[in-house]
């Protein structure tokens, strides 16, 4: 198992990516196609690099939008369908996803793969001895610069039996785990966030920053 700096989880024969929120750009007034294409390219690169036969999209594949985006969305999935088995664990923003891609992907609430139970995260899933993998909370972390600015980075959160993936879409702002105390995933709510091992990515490298609680203390010392 490996964390990839682009925000994906690499398993034996599968790539897991969460919260693609395709079409997010629409609500920001940005023209779409190029950004969606970039996300597609990244997934294709990962699939080829790791010779994966499965792509598991852990929920919130699409953002909330109207019908304008259906075409590009279908194209997105068609391209992936050519290369891998597609599995989608439904997220709370994935209304009518079956209608769009039902014939190209397996759409479930929970997908078990080896020792992992992959789901979106807005509904509680009992570990039953396995590691639950979720998205939904878009974990991120913000650090301050010397000049008084701040930079935000996506991160992975790892517990004994739970892994929280960041959003695969880097346009999504994310929730700062140092400053958020309210998370929406029931599995995550049950944990003490300070126990999480946090892995931070700058899109190029993964940095293991250790336990969030320790990190908090160390940052305070630096102040």
């Amino acid at each position: 198992m490996k964390y990839h700096p682009w925000g994906a989880l690499i398993l034996e024969d599968a790539i897991v990516a969460a919260d693609l929120h395709l079409g997010l750009e629409l609500s920001l007034g940005l023209p779409l196609e190029l950004h969606t294409k970039k996300i597609l390219n990244r997934l294709q690169t990962l699939i080829n690099e790791y010779n994966a036969s499965k792509l598991i999209l852990a929920g919130d594949v699409k953002d909330d939008f109207g019908t304008q985006f259906l075409g590009p969305l279908k194209y997105f999935f068609k391209e992936l369908f050519k290369e891998v088995d597609l599995i989608v664990t439904k997220g709370n923003h994935d209304n009518y996803i079956e209608a769009i891609i039902g014939d190209m992907a397996e759409i479930v609430d929970i997908y078990t793969y080896g020792n992992y139970k992959i789901t979106h995260g807005h509904l509680y899933v009992e570990p039953e001895g396995k590691t639950v993998v979720i998205g939904n909370d878009h974990p991120a972390i913000t650090f301050k610069t010397q000049t008084g600015g701040a930079r935000r980075y996506r991160c992975f959160l790892e517990f004994d039996d739970l892994i929280v993936l960041p959003s695969f879409n880097w346009l999504s702002p994310g929730n700062d785990v140092l400053r958020t105390f309210y998370f929406s995933s029931p599995n995550l709510k049950k944990k003490d966030i300070n126990d999480a091992n946090v892995y931070i990515t700058d899109d190029e490298t993964i940095y293991p920053f250790g336990k969030l609680g320790d990190l908090r203390l160390k940052l305070n010392e630096l102040k």
Binding site: P31, T145, Q146, G148, R152, Y153, L171, P173, R179, F209
Partner: protein, 838 residues
């Protein structure tokens, strides 16, 4: 090309002459109410009656506004008497401030009311149309247009593309107030296009009202465009200014900083008690908050805390209005402001204006002092208060300039491509369509765009018609220019304006759910529950940060962390900087008495300036017009190269960026930079020892290479992205996002990346470079300063301890940022190392 006549006029008419020109009832009314005409009224009213374009420059309280309106009201009454008064808008009044518009409306209504005693008619109507006007009021105006319409630049732009256009096609006068606050920025550029668009239907008389600004001829050109004539009435000399440069201590060098702070409080408290109401300008919002808070504590036993308050643009509107009302009622003894109270609105009686640290330019100083007194015959009293020696020298020179009427030059914004794009969309959205040729004519008939290169205009049209695959088209050009179906009118209305959307995070008091003000999103990113900060001059503690809001509760009297609003440091004007160098050149051979006479300051303060210069001279040498000094100082494992370039922080930022880039690339290393108004510093690892030849070569860089390197260095910065975002918003390439959930930067970055890949010479990218390099970084001044340096003797000196002047550059009040060249990834890597994780 027609030679434009801009003529300065003197008062040639007597009061009697003017009364003869006016309608007899109006004349009688004026004589009874005001007794005589003020200087600007004497000059301007006759010309306005004769329908000439006029620019009136005079201080507040000189009856400027009435000089504009009297001619209009007079004509309306004359028409009414002849039964020829139509139901149309005769005069359009535009000012940048909504508050000012409300004041003007009130004043005009009073004027008409009092006129009724002499000529009873209710038929002359005034209307106000701004963002605050209700829908029903607007409907009423649409059905029954007022004779005089009061509005803001943004509302006007919107009106032109709406059904109100038909009422604006037959104007006789357009009055632009506070024009000095518009001419030098993009807001004014947008306005000039709106005005020209109106003039296309039917030309009208233009009246500009301005405070002190220089050169007036430039502002006149802005007002009328390249093809018209204009008269200029300069009445600024008539207001009395009493202004002094003072210092809080007699000896900055030897007094410890806590002492200086104590003396500042004591000084302020004395002045506040001696005067009825004191307006204190600090240059930053955080400064205003901090000092207000501290002065309240200091004066606890002499003044109730409500007698001291703050006013700045990050406070909620309700709070600002409350402070303004209390000022007008005379309830405040001291008000701390950053820059929000510099402009127009009547704020009651202020008898003293204090500016802490330097206002950095003559125009700013004059503008601020002008807020005191407020009636023409009252003397405006102002004090520039310095907290360190360099600032004291700076202030003294500024005060001297004021006394000698030596003003710094304003630059009118030219060729802003994003404003052009926005306005063309507006013209495409207009009910009556224009052809592309008509649009071209309108654009080139403004002073703002009269020299726009043809290809830039075409590129903007190209962008708008969707020539690039990345951005969707907004307009269609065939026989006329119309909106593209993908661009909706309401989207245009929503995004009109030049003020970029900074996501403001509301600060809400948990008890009572009261909104206290707002904070910059970048500051909120740093806050944690438990942090204490000051807003609206009281301390609050963060309870929770949720969604787009910071929830707070009242905090106790412990040491607060004050909100640090970003990008507020005022830059020193280039002309003043050069005068400082001139002063340094001659002051070296002067005694304290001679310095006191030269700077027109009290001899006891001149001593410390004399000391300061003498110390520098003895230690190494005084950097001035003849000698350019570069110090090299070694500290542990770093070399500090300190360049004494007194060119103002904007030009210095350009210089340091270029030089740091050259050194960084040559040696393949990370280079740190510091800069302020008085110089810049380049910090390298100690294995890099620059030779005098290298420094000499850098200083002799060609203009072209300088610009090319500068463009490269700004390209990959957060500032470029942020600025691009603002420009893209203005040009409707991305929508203004109000939802605080979304990181605005990510959106702009994505678009920017794509544009660079597919269309690197896109007009929006060009405009971003332009804004940063010409406006933020003043490349013109940097190149000019380099030419000056080349004529001086270069002194490259290794030192064991840096000189007194260098101390200010490194640690002075004005110090700029320290930042690395490669930002985001470096930060994370460094942090990882620092926490000893690797």
């Amino acid at each position: 090309m027609k030679r434009v006549a801009i003529k300065r006029i003197e008062p040639t008419y007597t009061d009697k002459d003017i009364y003869k020109m006016l309608d007899e009832d109006v004349a009688l009314w004026f004589k009874t109410t005001y007794r005589s005409f003020t200087p600007p009224q004497k000059i301007a009213i006759p010309e306005i009656i004769e329908k000439k374009n006029v620019l009136i420059s005079s201080p507040t309280g000189s009856g400027k506004t009435l000089s504009a309106f009297l001619g209009v009201v007079d004509e309306l009454i004359k028409l009414h008497k002849q039964k020829k008064l139509e139901k149309k808008i005769y005069a359009l009044y535009v000012s940048p401030l909504r508050a000012l518009n409300n004041d003007i409306n009130k004043n005009l209504i009073e004027v008409l009311e009092s006129l009724k005693r002499f000529y009873p008619t209710d038929d002359i109507k005034i209307g106000v149309w701004t963002g605050d006007t209700t829908q029903s009021e607007r409907d009423k105006m649409r059905r029954n247009p007022p004779h005089i319409l009061i509005t803001t630049p943004e509302s006007l732009t919107i009106m032109l593309s709406s059904s109100m256009l038909k009422h604006l096609k037959d104007l006789e006068w357009v009055i632009i107030d506070e024009i000095h606050a518009l001419a030098d920025n993009k807001r004014g550029a947008l306005l000039s296009l709106s005005i020209e668009r109106l003039a296309h239907f039917k030309d009208f008389v233009r009246i500009g009202l301005s405070a002190t600004i220089h050169p007036l001829e430039e502002v006149a050109r802005y007002l009328i465009g390249p093809n018209r004539d204009c008269l200029v009435a300069d009445v600024t000399y008539s207001k009395q200014f009493e202004v002094d440069s003072e210092s809080v201590v007699e000896d900055f060098v030897n007094d410890p900083s806590e002492e200086i702070y104590v003396k500042l409080m004591s000084y302020l408290s004395k002045q506040v008690l001696k005067h009825k109401t004191t307006l204190i300008f600090t240059n930053t919002r955080s400064g205003a908050e901090a000092l207000a808070y501290r002065l309240k504590q200091w004066m606890k036993n002499k003044l109730p805390p409500e007698a001291i308050d703050v006013h700045h643009s990050s406070l909620s509107r309700a709070k600002r209005l409350e402070v303004e009302e209390r000022m007008k009622r005379g309830e405040l003894k001291a008000i701390f402001s950053s820059t929000s109270l510099e402009l127009g609105i009547d704020i009651g009686y202020i008898d003293l204006v204090i500016m802490i640290n330097s206002p950095k330019s003559v125009a700013k100083a004059v503008q601020r002092i002008g807020r005191a007194g407020h009636r023409l015959h009252e003397v405006s009293r102002g004090i520039l208060l310095a907290l360190d020696t360099d600032t004291f020298i700076e202030n003294s020179i500024i005060v001297k300039d004021i006394r000698e009427k030596h003003y710094d030059k304003t630059k009118i914004v030219k060729n802003p491509l994003d404003v052009l794009a926005q306005h063309i969309i507006g013209m495409a959205a207009q009910d009556e369509k224009f052809t592309l040729e008509e649009i071209r004519k309108i654009v080139y008939n403004t002073y703002t765009f009269s020299e726009l290169p043809k290809e830039q205009f075409n590129k903007v049209i190209g962008y708008l018609t969707g020539s690039s695959p990345i951005l969707r088209p907004k307009i269609i050009v065939d026989d006329v220019v119309r909106l593209h179906p993908a661009m909706k009118k309401f989207q245009f209305f929503r995004g009109v304006g030049t003020i970029p959307s900074e996501v403001k995070i509301d600060v809400v008091l948990v008890e009572g759910n009261k909104v206290l003000g707002s904070l910059d999103e970048r500051f909120v990113e740093k806050l944690t529950p438990g942090d204490v900060f000051v807003i609206a001059s009281k301390p609050y503690k963060v309870v929770k940060i949720w969604g787009g809001t910071v929830f707070v509760k009242k905090a106790s009297e412990k040491e607060p962390q004050v909100p640090a609003w970003v990008s507020e440091v005022l830059p020193l004007g280039y002309e003043v900087a050069l005068e400082i160098e001139e002063f340094r050149t001659i002051a070296q051979d002067m005694s304290p008495e001679e310095i006191a006479i030269l700077l027109q300051i009290y001899p006891k303060y001149a001593k410390q300036i004399h000391e300061y210069i003498k110390n520098q001279s003895h230690y190494i040498l005084v950097p001035d017009q003849r000698n350019f000094l570069v110090e090299r100082y070694l500290e542990e494992d770093k070399y500090f190269y300190i360049f004494h370039s007194v060119a103002g922080r904007r030009a210095n930022e350009a210089l340091v960026k270029v030089f740091a880039s050259i050194i960084g690339r040559k040696y393949g290393t990370d280079v740190k930079m510091v800069f302020n108004d008085y110089g810049f510093v380049i910090v390298t690892p100690s294995d890099i020892l620059l030779s005098e030849t290298e420094i000499y070569q850098m200083l002799n860089i060609s203009d072209d290479e300088f610009i090319s390197i500068l463009r490269e260095t700004v390209r990959h910065t957060e500032r470029f992205k942020l600025r691009f975002r603002h420009i893209a918003e203005r040009a409707f390439a991305i929508t203004k996002v109000k939802d605080p959930r979304f990181g605005l930067m990510g959106v702009a970055s994505s678009l920017l990346e794509n544009l660079f890949e597919y269309d690197p010479e896109h007009p929006l990218i060009e405009e971003t470079y332009n804004e940063i390099i010409n406006h933020d970084l003043r490349v013109e001044e940097a190149l000019d300063y380099l030419k000056k340096i080349r004529k001086r003797a270069l002194h490259y000196v290794p030192v064991d301890i840096y000189s007194p002047f260098a101390f200010n550059i490194l640690y002075g009040m004005n110090s700029g940022d320290v930042f690395n060249i490669r930002e985001r990834r470096e930060l994370l890597k460094e942090l990882y190392k620092k926490l000893s994780l690797k």
